[in-house]
């Protein structure tokens, strides 16, 4: 009698992400456009970088990166942390995001963001992130708090634009 080999444990979503960090934000055209790279993923955590670039500057005098580019960057890394917290594949959409600027980033300094999804329920994920313009924890430039809606199916994702489907919530 031949015994079936023990089934291989299915890798968790964050493990797949960790193996393909380069591809995670490559799938997002705007992340690619501003040079966002995911560098590290662990369960419910994501780290990424964005290089300082002249065309992304928000003030030519100080050379600080534009707040808008920073928001896109941190949103992307928060989304990755949310994805890394999922136990089964699902879509998600940013519900809200708040960013506090502690100080402007410095000219020529590349940015780094660490995001952690500290709570995920069936429908909502809560993420906190910190952005830095250097390698030290003293180089923090911004603090971020974001909430994501978990979308189980494409049908639910399309429902979001139908006001009757969710009683006016989020529409």
């Amino acid at each position: 009698m031949i015994e079936n080999p023990a089934p291989k444990p299915r890798p968790e979503i964050w493990q797949i992400m960790a193996q393909h960090t380069g591809q995670v934000s490559d799938a997002t055209p705007q992340a690619r456009a501003i040079g966002v790279i995911i560098t590290e993923v662990t369960k419910a955590n994501a780290t990424g970088t964005m290089e300082w670039r002249e065309d992304l500057v928000g003030d030519t005098q100080s050379g600080t990166m534009a707040s808008g580019a920073v928001i896109t960057f941190v949103d992307q890394i928060c989304g990755a942390a949310c994805m890394a917290a999922l136990t089964e594949p699902a879509g998600f959409a940013t519900l809200d995001l708040r960013i506090d600027y502690l100080r402007p980033s410095r000219r020529g300094h590349n940015l780094r963001t660490k995001a952690h999804c500290y709570r995920i329920s069936r429908h909502v994920a809560f993420v906190r992130a910190m952005a830095f313009d250097g390698d030290s924890d003293d180089d923090q430039i911004a603090a971020v708090q974001a909430t994501f809606m978990i979308i189980k199916s494409r049908k639910d994702m399309l429902k979001r634009s139908d006001p009757k489907a969710n009683m006016g919530e989020n529409t």
Partner: protein
């Protein structure tokens, strides 16, 4: 004191990121609005497809900054202290518009709200609330 057109031209010159986004400032109609023509690299979710939330946030924030310098009459760039964005609907791959209202203009801080919409102005896709530091 410079006129609104010169003030906005100076803003565009000081912020290279505005050109990167492709954001257009409209002063002609009496009310100040901005528009963001669609381009493929603004997409955040290619499956839907949907605009990147960060792009919509950036647009509303720059609209808020534009409104601050127009109302305060100071060409100095306001510094963003914090912004909070609520996403209400998916941003479709089409032109987006935004307008901003100053709730309070203090000596140092401006409290501003902005909304963004697409084909229907009565169906906003996102709203922003933020504080800006006015540098004098």
């Amino acid at each position: 004191m410079t006129g609104p057109k010169e003030t906005i031209a100076q803003l565009i010159e000081n912020v290279p990121y505005i050109a990167h986004l492709g954001l257009v400032f409209n002063l002609e109609s009496g009310e100040f609005t901005t528009s963001l023509p669609y381009k493929p690299d603004l997409v955040g979710n290619p499956m839907l497809p949907a605009l990147h939330g960060g792009v919509i946030a950036a647009m509303m924030e720059l609209t808020a900054m534009g409104q601050v310098i127009l109302i305060s009459g100071s060409p100095e760039l306001p510094k963003t202290i914090d912004v909070s964005i609520d996403y209400l609907r998916t941003g479709k791959p089409e032109a987006t518009f935004a307008r901003a209202t100053i709730t309070k203009l203090g000596r140092q801080i401006a409290n501003v709200e902005a909304i963004a919409w697409q084909s229907d102005p009565l169906k906003p896709i996102a709203k922003l609330h933020g504080h800006f530091l006015m540098v004098t």
